[in-house]
């Protein structure tokens, strides 16, 4: 009996399975986000202190959450590549990096737009903002390292090492920037003793978080499919070149 990860190790089976799953995943993401946006704009009441600007939370918080989830996906994939040599792990790590970076960027931009009316400034050197910014640089480092090494197998292994170094360093970086004081509000959804947020705001937020996670999954699967197809095209091209060379040699003889 094969486990699901073993079965997915075969790219052909992955392509078949993902082709069937992807439309549902993308459709679910679109539907949940549409419902979440409806809740966020028309059902959720304006915040009693921040007014309408608090609605940016429904985009900001899921993005921030996915910026961390994205790095976790990369780190797990890196581990899968280096330890188990799972053939799809590298495809997954490569596909997740730009998506994670995009969500991190989105979290930074929406956060700074939210900061302007509430804190009176676009940017403060607060602990959380700084650690998300550094997370963004880690993503850029992963993408830059991969793109600057020509040998693809080598690039994927080295990027995996960097991703694992990053996952060790991330908590230390987070701890170090939190050593100072923070302006950002404390965690208010996932905490001991239940959420401090009012249910009328919490419910749309959770729907949006689910929708964004589905979106991330759909984009990730799509990017993985593209990467597999790109590699196949490359292999086919190489085979074509070899056949042409062999043909020319035969003609010369």
């Amino acid at each position: 009996m094969q486990t699901i990860t073993q079965r997915l190790a075969n790219p052909t089976q992955f392509m078949e399975l993902s082709a069937r799953v992807l439309p549902w995943l993308a459709g679910a993401a679109a539907a949940v986000i549409a419902y979440g946006l409806y809740l966020a704009f028309f059902v959720a009441p304006p915040d009693y202190q921040q007014g309408e600007t608090a609605r940016i939370m429904f985009v900001h918080v899921p993005s921030a959450w996915l910026s961390m989830a994205g790095y976790t996906v990369i780190a797990i994939s890196a581990f899968g590549l280096l330890v188990f040599r799972h053939p799809l792990a590298d495809v997954s790590a490569k596909a997740a990096a730009p998506i994670g970076a995009a969500f991190t960027f989105l979290a930074l931009v929406t956060g700074s737009l939210w900061g302007r009316p509430t804190w009176g400034t676009y940017w403060v050197w607060d602990a959380r903002l700084t650690s998300v910014l550094i997370l963004f640089f880690l993503y850029l480092g992963l993408i830059a390292l991969r793109s600057s090494i020509e040998d693809e197998t080598l690039a994927s292994k080295l990027t995996a090492v960097l991703a694992l170094v990053g996952i060790v360093m991330l908590p230390i970086i987070k701890f170090s920037v939190e050593y100072g004081k923070t302006l950002h509000q404390k965690a208010s959804v996932l905490r001991l003793g239940g959420p401090t947020m009012d249910p009328s705001l919490l419910h749309p937020l959770l729907v949006m978080a689910l929708g964004f996670t589905l979106l991330f999954a759909a984009l990730h699967v799509k990017a993985m499919r593209n990467e597999i197809l790109r590699r196949r095209v490359k292999t086919l091209q190489m085979a074509e070149v070899e056949r042409a060379q062999a043909g020319r040699l035969a003609a010369a003889e």
């Binding site: 280096l82 480092g141 830059a144 600057s148 040998d151 080598l154 080295l158 090492v161 170094v165």
Partner: protein
């Protein structure tokens, strides 16, 4: 132990006799610190307030300059392959090279810092702790840097890439280095950030060589 020490002393001798590397790093350090008051204005009160931070950041940048050479010259002339097939595990080879980088680059930079502190009107009380944080914090700079150097060995634009990969990992060292200095000058506990700084350096010394050796091994197959 003997091959390890031999490798360290070989690297140190190369650093001294080849020249250039150390001088360049020290010169760069002095120039960055000189340019800063020209850019920010020569207000001595302002300079005194930011001196420790400026000295630390300039030190990180100067140490970064010499990182690409940690493995590159040995990789190019093939000595790294000989070292890899020798009796010393690759982890210890990486550790020896990072240690040599620390002794030949980071320590001189740390010792130059108080002299540059005079230019920046750094408070006299802060000199011992400035040098102490730099001496204790720079092993992390060299050993994490060695990981970056190993990762970018075969990359294009290696030098610029190292900066992008490694600088985010220097954040904790920088923060706790500055925290102990500002705790001395203002309110707060000096010892606890200093101890955390030490812990980061020790962790980097232990873990860095493993990551660096893994990266090197992948590139030498």
């Amino acid at each position: 132990m003997k091959p390890f020490l031999t490798l360290v002393s070989r690297d140190l001798r190369l650093a001294v006799r080849q020249g250039g590397a150390l001088g360049t790093a020290l010169g760069f350090y002095m120039l960055v610190v000189t340019l800063l008051p020209l850019g920010l204005g020569a207000d001595l009160n302002l300079l005194s307030r930011i001196a420790a931070g400026v000295l630390w950041i300039a030190l990180l940048l100067s140490a970064l300059l010499s990182l690409p050479r940690v493995f590159a010259s040995d990789y190019e002339d093939g000595s790294l392959d000989i070292l890899a097939t020798g009796s010393l595990p690759l982890e210890l080879v990486a550790a020896a090279k990072a240690l040599a980088h620390w002794i030949s680059t980071s320590i001189p930079l740390a010792l130059l810092a108080p002299i540059l502190g005079i230019l920046l009107n750094l408070e006299i009380d802060a000199y011992p702790i400035l040098v102490a944080t730099m001496l204790v914090g720079t092993p992390a700079v060299s050993f994490i840097g060695a990981v970056g150097a190993a990762l970018t060995l075969r990359a294009h634009r290696g030098g610029l890439l190292i900066a992008l990969l490694v600088l985010p990992f220097y954040v904790p060292t920088l923060i706790f280095g500055i925290a102990s200095i500002s705790a001395l000058l203002g309110p707060g506990d000096v010892l606890s950030p200093f101890l955390i700084l030490t812990a980061i350096s020790l962790a980097a010394v232990v873990l860095g060589p493993f990551a660096a050796a893994a990266a090197l091994r992948m590139q030498m197959q």
